[in-house]
């Protein structure tokens, strides 16, 4: 949790403290500044958390704010980073410079963006909206969001923006995977970021995956989760489903991770053997997705499939995924 002593920061701190209490999680309050007032800010924030029944640890860092927050989250192996949205409104949606925006793009863990601009807003999560595009990574995000919603006792709805025929099937399938057949489902045409943000008004929390927020393409096209984080009226949980760290993987799990800025398809076998491959499909260079059910790497562009070891299952690719030294 990033704390910097402002009234808006206090709102995010309170949300973090309440979540920590409800989920039985440890809370670490982090302050980054070079003015020398950091210790006082942290003491005051810890006192406020204590009044909510949470004994928080505190951590002070010097240096560039966004980089220090991201580094601390990685070092602490945090499960969730909570940050206020100061400077992230719809008007700044084309800006990449705000600290929350920078943190959201580079966070090594899931990040909760708290709307702090309305001090009277109640940040209790009673209704959560889980967004999916039917991809394997989006499914990870919905599963994560659903688990959080269940832990908080929140109602859940699913949203798919795009093709109505596929949306209907995707949401029925997602509901079945979450074992929530009676769940509210919203299928709507249009721009995903706009529609999700529009529907967010009726919910306390929106959950999206971080696909599109990393890599150089984000400078060309604003990713859906990034736009939602800027434009939605509710708090936004961005689940890190893409570019996770290799060290996040559990046995039997695979993910596209980032190593020295390169995307690597990493799989940790049940026996502890690690497979690290180029994440670029050898057909036309799209980034492959991890198929957790079949334990394969699937290309979303033209359907090439690879075994977890990189061997070809089916084309159009004619070359296996090459190994990468990490």
């Amino acid at each position: 949790m990033g704390a910097h002593g402002s009234p808006t920061s206090a709102v995010a701190e309170e949300v973090a403290a309440r979540l920590a209490k409800q989920l039985g999680a440890e809370l670490v309050l982090l302050n980054v500044d070079e003015t020398g007032s950091g210790e006082d800010v942290l003491r005051a924030a810890a006192d406020r958390a204590s009044r909510l029944g949470v004994e928080a640890q505190t951590l002070h860092r010097d240096g560039a704010v966004a980089e220090s927050i991201v580094a601390a989250a990685a070092e602490l192996r945090a499960d969730l980073l909570v940050i206020g949205d100061h400077g992230m409104g719809p008007d700044s949606r084309f800006s990449l410079g705000g600290i929350p925006s920078q943190v959201a793009h580079h966070s090594p863990v899931d990040i909760l963006v708290v709307r702090t601009s309305e001090p009277t807003r109640d940040h209790t999560y009673r209704r959560a909206l889980l967004a999916t595009d039917g991809s394997l990574t989006a499914h990870q995000a919905t599963r994560h969001g659903d688990a959080l919603a269940q832990a908080l006792g929140a109602e859940v709805a699913l949203i798919y923006v795009g093709d109505e025929l596929i949306g209907d099937i995707v949401l029925r399938d997602t509901a079945a995977r979450l074992d929530r057949d009676g769940i509210e489902r919203i299928v709507i045409k249009g721009n995903p970021a706009v529609q999700i943000s529009k529907h967010a008004v009726d919910y306390d929390l929106v959950v999206v995956g971080n696909k599109g927020m990393t890599g150089s393409r984000r400078y060309i096209q604003r990713a859906v989760p990034s736009r939602v984080a800027h434009e939605a009226g509710s708090d936004v949980l961005i689940v890190r489903t893409v570019s996770r760290s290799f060290f996040d993987l559990r046995p039997g799990e695979g993910a596209v991770v980032e190593v020295d800025g390169e995307k690597v398809a990493a799989y940790l076998h049940d026996d502890g053997t690690a497979f690290t491959l180029s994440a670029r499909c050898q057909h036309m260079g799209c980034i492959v997705d991890w198929n957790s059910r079949a334990r394969t790497w699937d290309c979303p562009c033209h359907g090439s499939r690879y075994e977890y070891s990189g061997a070809i299952i089916n084309g159009p690719t004619t070359k296996p995924l090459p190994g990468v030294q990490t």
Binding site: D298, G303, S304, P316
Partner: protein, 155 residues
């Protein structure tokens, strides 16, 4: 470079274009006829395998055609402009139509592989949702008309 060479490059592009795009056209029609997911996946793979050849041959076709048009001084005639416009226009029109259907089929195949609640009925719904004859027919008629314009140069 002489007109003959530009024409050769253009025709080489046309051959590649017809071979690569013809495969996708056939795949579109075939997907509607065969109902077995694995077979449909195979057809889809075949179509996807021609994507890069399609883009490269289209580029060669355009470069060769424009080069031949410049060297042959055809650009003061209407047929070449109409051919170019038709190729671009039909391409722009057909791309989203075909892409949507291929994406739908690819998505449903992926969901059948990884999902838990996707049925054969869903698969059939998706296959029936496209109109391959209209898509392939539009492209075929457009190509025939472009061929007419280029061979007969009516105006």
């Amino acid at each position: 470079m002489s007109y003959g060479w530009w024409k050769f490059i253009h025709l080489a592009g046309v051959v590649g274009f017809v071979a690569a795009h013809g495969t996708s056209m056939a795949a579109t029609v075939l997907m509607k006829r065969i109902r077995e997911p694995q077979q449909v996946a195979g057809v889809l793979q075949l179509s996807a395998a021609t994507v890069s050849a399609f883009y490269v041959s289209t580029l060669i076709l355009l470069v060769g055609g424009i080069g031949a048009g410049v060297v042959g001084q055809w650009f003061d005639q209407g047929w070449i402009w109409l051919s170019l416009g038709l190729l671009v226009g039909v391409g722009v029109l057909m791309f989203p139509m075909a892409r949507r259907h291929f994406r739908r089929v690819r998505m449903i195949l992926e969901l059948m592989e990884t999902g838990t609640a996707v049925s054969r009925d869903d698969f059939a719904r998706v296959l029936n949702s496209g109109n391959p004859v209209l898509t392939a027919g539009t492209g075929f008629v457009a190509i025939l008309f472009i061929l007419y314009l280029m061979v007969l140069k009516p105006f």
